[in-house]
């Protein structure tokens, strides 16, 4: 199939960006979306031009690096699918596809479609862990955990930190990302000791990074490539309230 692509190009964080139009020919429906971009980039290199910069690594939907906004949707049209797992079967001959980077103040553009998501790392640094040094652990089976709790915790822990939730939210809120981590750890007995300070510190950091507030539109859940449930945000709010009412304060 032959396609027209309108792609956001921006030299660096300081410069003004804009859309460029490209056409690609003989794209196979078997290709992944990023392989179609590989074809375009090879074409640009042969024309002596700079290829389009974008984040990608594992290309199997798990590392969370890829991050394109495709035709107005984070990771494109397929439900619960990262850009690297989106295949060209989703498009038809003659289509025009618009590709933008994530748009959020807390994710500044580095170049073209690549953005800086280190704000997510700083949210984790604020408390997204259990403080246990190597060697402290007791035998793993000394701590039985009910299967439903373990499964629920696991479901939250499958977040890949790609940032689609932020990109999809009209407020650019990181609530789904943050809530997934809070839920993952709050659902486990190991996470109990730091439960209150964790949620307060992480929310505090989210605010400092310039992410917006959650207004429950549900766009994050709809676009999340891993199907992280918005119920985690409900849990986040409950945890936050519980910590606040108990008189705990952020450090």
């Amino acid at each position: 199939m032959n396609l027209t692509l309108k792609v956001w190009r921006q030299q660096n964080a300081q410069s003004q960006g804009g859309f460029e139009t490209y056409s690609v020919k003989d794209i196979s429906s078997e290709m992944s979306f990023l392989e179609m971009f590989d074809v375009l980039n090879e074409q640009l290199i042969h024309e002596g031009k700079e290829p389009i910069t974008f984040d990608h690594d594992c290309r199997e939907g798990i590392c969370g690096a890829c991050s394109m906004h495709i035709n107005g949707q984070a990771h494109g049209p397929w439900h619960e699918t990262t850009t690297c797992q989106l295949h060209m079967r989703a498009f038809k001959d003659g289509d025009t596809i618009v590709v933008e980077p994530w748009r959020a103040a807390a994710f500044p553009v580095i170049k073209d479609l690549m953005v800086d998501r280190t704000s997510f790392d700083r949210i984790i640094q604020a408390g997204g862990y259990i403080s246990v040094n190597t060697g402290n652990a007791q035998d793993a089976n000394n701590l039985p955990i009910a299967k439903d709790k373990a499964d629920e915790s696991f479901a939250a822990a499958t977040c890949i930190g790609c940032g689609a939730c932020v990109a999809s939210c009209k407020n650019a809120s990181a609530s789904l990302f943050l809530s997934a981590k809070v839920a993952h750890l709050a659902l486990l007995p190991q996470g109990d000791a730091e439960r209150k300070t964790r949620v307060l510190n992480m929310v505090d950091q989210m605010d400092k990074e310039g992410f917006g507030a959650c207004t429950n539109t549900g766009a994050c859940e709809a676009e999340c490539p891993k199907g992280i449930s918005i119920m985690n945000i409900r849990r986040l709010n409950a945890e936050y309230l519980r910590a606040g009412l108990s008189g705990s304060i952020a450090r």
Binding site: N12, S28, E30, M31, L34, E35, D38, E42, L44, I45, G48, E50, P51, T53, H56, D57, C58, R59, E60, I62, C63, G64, A65, W78, Q85, H87, I110, T118, D121, I124, Q125, G128, Y129, I130, S131, V132, N133, T134, G135, N136, A137, Q138, A140, N141, L143, P144, A146, K147, A150, D151, S153, F154, A157, T158, I160, H184, L185, L188, Q190, G191
Partner: protein, 658 residues
């Protein structure tokens, strides 16, 4: 230089304890003034950086990705082994040790593998304490499954995303140390050289991939934890960015490269669909617990799978290896698939695939479920409905991934699979302490050669990465640094740093100034084809000699005709890639030379000249029971050093899974 593996004296099962009792220790106040550089933040790097930060060392960690959480350990699916014997099925430290040595076709060091088995149980404890949500039974206890090459259930898992959960555990531990100020994280940085002063590794030159600027970093010791080099084949299950550059620079600075030709070709990957393909996707080995592998009994059979009756199917693994069946180790399963396809029994349009079929498992599980629901005379539809639900719970994410990539529904038709490059057992040679042949330069995880011999068993890579990082390096590094407490941080205007930076800068400028016509990607693809065809699943002396010449020619072409757009300043992914491919080309040549030297078949290394009458790998213990450690002299020129392997406890025998 002769190789000293520094294996401690004493009985095998006591070596590690004795070592820990006797190794030197750095006191906490001194640790604060000792700096350690860690390259790579996968399971080995993140766990090492976190554990060393916890001890109080000043750690600088580097990764080329935008966040340490993206390292390719994240993609590991199946699980992690540990000798817990929670299933009461006869597992023990000794049995895990024995299986790993045997699985590696008697080409790994006994002492290292025994230590790995010893610390395996601590890893599970540590990960659970960190909040890693492993799969559990209804009683709240941890669940286990079996994996290829073993007869006990010792694999811990988190659905098909075990690597993700373990890496996030290590990542969180690492970020905690970042928050505490013990670790400084440098993401989007690539290590481009080791700086040596008085023969010791004392720092690195790294490139900030956003600004393009070169940086000098000092460390009392440097740890390479940069993963495997499967991307030398272009197509592999590795991430696009996975590369050999850090390890290769270390090699050029004097670190010997151990067993470079030992490559693991994983039997169950989604087959190649066309020339556009940029990578291959693994379907976890755990699928072989329930899937049966078959091809048609008739050559060039073009019927659909559903049209081929049961008695016209060849379940060739069950036929050839009745004791292990579909659970034979990876090297055996891969070769058997290649043998069938080469003989004309392959399926799918490319005929380079075999079926992995879940129909029998659906019926088996469905019958059990119906029985649980009190339905002892269920219809075929009822059985299928319940059976599908069980298969979905166990493997749902893998089936979904398969459907997205191929456009086929694996619940309806059998999966098509074919072997693909997955893991590299070779890597930088290290001694018992994980130190390379350069003093103060260590290598951990997949990047080193140490624990898997010629073939890695499933669910052992995660175990090794975390063992090295959490439980080995914190002891062995202290033993080295204890003698270095008087060394003050060396300023980075030292002539060695200046010279190293100049060298790196010169190489980058040389690449940018070639201004040829071919893209980096196109040359990488050609390298991959040479490697896959001549240094892949089956190798011959003739093919390897040809490959060496072809790679040397390709290298000339690369250095005279590659085109890198853009500039040295600012972000330039093509330049990053070009530097990696330049190193892959050099590595490819060494791999072929190593493969040529090893005139035997062992594990993942199959020399067609060396096979038994029934087509199994034929080892030659008389002549080749050694680690091939290659010393870099100059361009295309290496010296081979041999570390003889001594088996005091296990008696090497021809592997049999029949």
């Amino acid at each position: 230089m002769s190789l000293n593996s520094k294996i401690p004296a004493g009985e095998l099962s006591q070596k590690w304890s004795l070592y820990k009792n006797n190794c030197k220790i750095v006191n906490p106040a001194n640790k604060r003034s000792l700096e350690v550089i860690v390259i790579g933040t996968g399971l080995a790097g993140a766990s090492a950086a976190a554990a060393l930060g916890e001890l109080g060392y000043k750690v600088k960690a580097f990764c080329f990705q935008d966040s340490p959480r993206r390292a390719h350990s994240i993609a590991a699916q199946g699980g992690i082994n540990a000798a817990k014997n929670y299933q009461n099925d006869g597992d023990s430290v000794y049995r895990l040790f024995y299986d790993t040595i045997k699985g590696g076709d008697y080409r790994a060091r006994e002492s290292n593998v025994h230590r790995l088995a010893e610390v395996s149980a601590n890893i599970i404890d540590q990960c659970v304490a960190q909040g890693v949500p492993f799969a559990r039974e209804y009683g709240g206890m941890l669940s286990n499954r079996s994996f290829g090459g073993t007869q006990v259930q010792r694999t811990f898992y988190a659905a098909g995303q075990t690597g993700q959960q373990l890496l996030i555990g290590a990542y969180q531990a690492l970020e905690r140390q970042v928050a505490l100020g013990n670790v400084t994280m440098y993401s989007r940085h690539e290590m481009l050289d080791i700086v040596k002063i008085d023969g010791k590794a004392r720092g690195i030159i790294a490139r900030n991939l956003i600004t393009g600027k070169l940086e000098r970093h000092f460390g009392h010791a440097v740890l390479i934890c940069s993963g495997g080099y499967g991307n030398v084949f272009y197509l592999s299950t590795n991430a696009m960015g996975s590369n050999v550059t850090a390890a290769w620079k270390a090699h050029r600075q004097g670190a010997y490269f151990g067993n470079p030709c030992y490559t693991q070709i994983h039997p169950t990957c989604i087959p190649v669909s066309g020339d556009h393909q940029s990578k291959l996707t693994l379907m976890s080995e755990s699928l072989r617990n329930d899937g049966r592998i078959w091809v048609p009994k008739k050559q060039n059979d073009n019927r659909k799978a559903s049209e081929i009756p049961e008695d016209e199917r060849d379940y060739y693994l069950e036929r050839r290896y009745p004791a292990f069946g579909n659970l034979v180790p990876r090297d055996v399963a891969s070769r058997a698939a290649k043998e069938r396809c080469d003989a004309g029994y392959g399926v799918g349009t490319s005929k380079q695939a075999v079926y992995l079929d879940f129909a029998a498992a659906v019926i088996r599980y469905g019958t059990i479920e119906c029985s649980k629901h009190g339905n002892h005379n269920p219809s075929a539809d009822e059985v299928r409905k319940y059976g599908l639900a069980v298969v979905k719970e166990k493997y749902g994410n893998l089936f979904d991934m398969y459907a997205k990539i191929t456009g086929e529904d694996p619940y309806e038709v059998p999966m098509r699979i074919y072997p693909a490059v997955h893991y590299t057992m070779g890597g930088l040679w290290v001694d018992y302490e994980l130190m390379t042949t350069v003093e103060g330069l260590y290598c951990l995880g997949e990047a080193n050669f140490s624990d898997h011999g010629a073939n890695r068993l499933g669910a052992s890579a995660l175990m090794q990465g975390l063992a090295d990082g959490y439980f080995v390096i914190p002891y062995t590094l202290g033993n080295y640094l204890a003698d270095d407490i008087r060394t003050k941080a060396i300023p980075t205007d030292h002539p060695a740093f200046v010279a190293a930076e100049k060298e790196v800068e010169g190489r980058i400028n040389q690449l940018m100034n070639i201004k040829g016509k071919q893209s980096v990607e196109s040359i990488h693809k050609r390298l991959g084809l040479i490697m896959w065809n001549k240094c892949g699943m089956g190798r011959t002396a003739e093919g390897l000699k040809e490959a060496i010449l072809e790679i040397q020619a390709l290298k000339k072409e690369f250095w005279s005709d590659v085109f890198i757009p853009g500039t040295v300043e600012g972000m330039n992914n093509e330049l990053d890639k070009a530097q990696r491919v330049a190193d892959f080309i050099e590595l490819g040549e060494l791999m072929c030379k190593d493969a040529l030297n090893r005139e035997e078949s062992c594990g993942g290394h199959f020399r067609e000249e060396s096979q038994t009458p029934d087509g199994e790998a034929q080892r030659n213990d008389e002549e080749f029971m050694y680690v091939a450690a290659w010393e870099y002299n100059s361009d295309s020129n290496w010296t081979l050093h041999k570390e003889e392997l001594k088996y005091d406890v296990v008696k090497p025998s021809q592997r049999s899974y029949k």
